[in-house]
Symmetry: C2
Subunit: 130 residues, 2 copies
DNA sequence: ATGGGGTCTGTACCATAGTACGGAGTCAAG
DNA sequence: CTTGACTCCGTACTATGGTACAGACCCCAT
């Protein structure tokens, strides 16, 4: 598959794939088909797609691209403790973030209700006022 | 209070306060005390502090600075429907984000457990491989 | 064999939310 | 009345994660 197909299947833009390549997260296969000296086009395999999807999933888990790079650099099972450490650290961070968002949600919900039902000034707007 | 005190009480840096001023989120009082022509220092009151704290809380709820600017621009109660719309939109977004993070957490937890107990290659690392 | 769409490379630009810095001016305590 | 900390202002820079060209070049179908 070409870069365009890879991007489409991975749900990202072509430029994003190239960006990941620049970041070292995806590799850049040789331009095959060409007779050297500005050969053909780069072809990608299913492994590249899996890797791209992994990146997106890890990103959805809140890993930064830098951390994802580290995960990808730990070659198959060689550094389990490190992988586990990254995972558990991320789980902790996720728990903290979830709690924070839930607190924010509760506060916002209350504010919205007060705004709808109270007689005074809308507390969303005046929450910061005297 | 001076800008330094305001920043300290608000839990941000001085530069951040100035940045919020540039963004129009906080106002910039006159330099009082001076005899004009490069007068004294700007003084801030408790209203400024409340406003700063409001900004930080709204930010914790996931509002962008731009949205916060909009909230602040709706003067006391005049545009309740808009304020409510912003709040409920944000609550929806929070719910979606919380669900997403919870899903990610579950997936990551399973991966970490598999990594600890399985015999094969660590699935955190090889999740993207053949 | 030709035309249109995809690809390649490099560089530049974007948004968001700050952070840093230089040089001048100002305030407040000793 | 000096000294040291703080403030002011403008500008520039940072990090993160992309996005957008331009100008070549290439590939495949007709």
């Amino acid at each position: 598959m070409t870069i365009g197909a890879l991007a489409r299947e991975g749900g990202v833009g072509v430029e994003t794939v190239r960006y990941y390549q620049r970041r070292g997260l995806l590799d850049t296969p040789d331009r095959s088909g060409g007779n050297a000296l500005s050969g053909g086009v780069r072809r990608y395999g299913p492994g590249d797609l899996r890797r791209l999807r992994f990146i997106r999933q890890a990103q959805a888990s809140g890993f930064t691209l830098e951390e994802i790079g580290e995960l990808l650099a730990l070659d198959a099972g060689h550094d389990r403790p490190r992988a586990q450490a990254l995972a558990t650290a991320r789980i902790k961070a996720l728990d903290a973030k979830i709690a924070e968002l839930q607190a924010a949600r509760t506060a916002l919900q209350k504010l919205a209700q007060d705004c709808a039902h109270s007689d005074g000034p809308c507390p969303i707007i005046s929450a910061f006022e005297a």
